[in-house]
């Protein structure tokens, strides 16, 4: 689907080949971007020379290519939305956007696309913008190699870096999003691709999915966000080879899955997150070949989850490997490597001969009574866990890995 969109896009740009270039700059004949847009014919190219442009809200309703040379600065003077685009076939490239207005009612953005198609937003820089790139009701858009940086001093009035609402067939590649509310935000977005992005230090989520089906994200890095990635009320999402690093805090997760179905989580690494994966109301997902290393909780599996397959993952040096709040287990947990496993392998098939129970008694107690966390690292808890290991009472009896791996998997 995405490929087809790409081809259509290329074909479309070829047909608009005979275009003139208008140069904008302090020393040029055209000094204002707004004037150039008014002058330009569909398909023309606007080349913006270095300088600072303060033109309030620029509205683009023609298919134009707007390119910056040496990153000209478009200043919203803390009042305006900078680019509002409502057209097809446009390119915005090499510009630097600063200081958009902030509003609690309207979502002011540096670049806002309304009902637009075949748009490319490439290699731009964003500083201190409320929303960076904002797409509503648009499709076939390429957002590539942009750098978005919001400033922390505006902490409580900050928008999303790349915000998509009711879109489809969007490609988001090699962007860097820092310090926003959500780094990348998807609501009602389908058939889209998020690759090679770096999302760091965002207040809420590095990447946020809501009601967005059939999307894929791979090779992204989510670091130090309020929570790494939240995927909610969605089905058929593919999450491959991403890194979730140090998303740490009292309500932080590496990956938060809520009401997710038929999705694939493969080859990711979860490092030093408060909770590696939190799963609620989710079913028929495959969690395979991931690496869980030094997380607080590697996997929090709520009782409302069923038919998930958790296999061939590495669980190493996590405070808790797995916790759940129920007693009924309807998920399949098999062939994982658990560094706490103390079993043996007599027949040398590299699989432990006795099952492993990844749930500790204390973990279960805390899930039922969160206040019991106060007893953490007390002598009592130590004894309880030892006793439970010898004689399981509280932990779900059938929750176990019947074929634990003896050695960690090598995913490299």
């Amino acid at each position: 689907m995405i490929r087809i969109a790409l081809i259509i896009g290329m074909v479309a740009s070829c047909t608009l080949g005979h275009a003139t270039t208008i140069v904008i700059g302090a020393k040029e004949s055209v000094t204002r971007i707004k004037d150039a847009i008014a002058l330009a014919q569909p398909g023309d190219t606007l080349l913006i020379k270095p300088g600072i442009y303060r033109e309030g809200n620029i509205i683009l309703q023609k298919p134009l290519t707007i390119k910056g040379e040496g990153y000209p600065v478009l200043d919203g003077e803390n009042q305006y939305e900078i680019f509002t685009i409502h057209t097809n076939h446009a390119v915005i490239q090499g510009l630097k956007f600063i200081n958009t207005g902030i509003s609690s009612i309207n979502d002011l953005a540096a670049i806002k696309l309304l009902e637009s198609q075949q748009i490319k937003i490439l290699q731009n820089k964003f500083e201190n913008t409320f929303f960076g790139i904002y797409l509503a009701n648009s499709s076939h858009v390429w957002i590539e190699e942009n750098e978005l940086q919001a400033q922390a001093e505006f902490e409580h009035q900050i928008g999303n870096g790349i915000h998509l609402w009711k879109c489809n067939n969007i490609t988001i590649d090699k962007n860097k999003v820092v310090g926003h509310r959500d780094g990348i935000y998807f609501e009602f977005v389908t058939n889209s691709l998020i690759t090679n992005n770096h999302s760091e230090g965002n207040m809420r989520y590095g990447l946020h999915f809501m009601f967005s089906n059939n999307d894929e994200y791979r090779n992204n890095t989510f670091m130090n966000n309020g929570a790494g990635v939240a995927v909610m009320y969605t089905k058929e999402v593919t999450m491959v080879n991403n890194s979730f690093i140090h998303n740490w805090g009292s309500s932080a997760y590496g990956l938060l899955l809520k009401d997710i179905r038929d999705s694939k989580i493969t080859g990711n690494s979860f490092l030093e997150n408060s909770v590696g994966i939190f799963m609620e109301g989710s079913s028929r997902n495959h969690i395979q070949q991931n690496k869980f290393y030094q997380n607080g909780y590697a996997l929090k599996l709520q009782a409302s989850c069923d038919d998930n397959i958790i296999s061939k993952n590495n669980f190493q040096q996590n405070t808790f490997d797995l916790v759940t709040n129920g007693s009924l287990v309807l998920n399949k947990i098999e062939a994982n490597y658990w560094d706490r496993y103390e079993g043996y392998d007599l027949n040398k098939d590299k699989t432990g001969d006795i099952p492993y129970r990844p749930i500790s008694m204390y973990g279960t107690i805390v899930e039922r009574m969160p206040q019991a966390i106060l007893l953490w690292r007390s002598f009592l808890v130590l004894l309880l866990d030892k006793a439970e290991k010898a004689m399981p009472i509280l932990t779900p009896e059938n929750l176990m890995d019947v074929s634990p791996a003896m050695l960690p998997y090598d995913f490299n």
Binding site: S104, D107, E155, H156, W165, R181, E187, M203, R204, Y205, M210, F211, G226, A227, A230, M232, S250, S251, Y253, L256, K258, F278, E280
Partner: protein, 143 residues
Amino acid sequence: MRLFLFSALCWIVISCAVKPEPLLYGRDACHTCKMTLVDRKFGAELVTEKGKVYKFDDLNCMLTFYHSGYEEASAFKFIQVVDFTNPEKLIDAQNAWYLKSEDLRTPMASEVAAFESEESTQVFKKEWKAVLLSWGEIQTQFK
């Protein structure tokens, strides 16, 4: 005797604390959807008779929990929502006015904003082409 004293102490400490707490945006997480509260125009809170506080980022999250039967509906002492025109201010949900519009972007897509007075709804009602709803109607909307 000791146990009795102990329980009495527990009771004293607990009983003096049944009141709503302010929503801490950027820190508190929604009880239903686990999202961190960030949008100060929206939010809701339930407080049980026993003083337990549940916080929500959007009205539908609150109602989902309200109807889930996890806590008896009669057990809620306070049902509160944030006034759209007064960010962060919690008002009584049962006496509030609600506007529902597709133009409204709320944290969990309820598309509903709450208002303390009917007058303040009027400007927005026109602007958003919104429907005015009462607490009763809102409840049936998100059952």
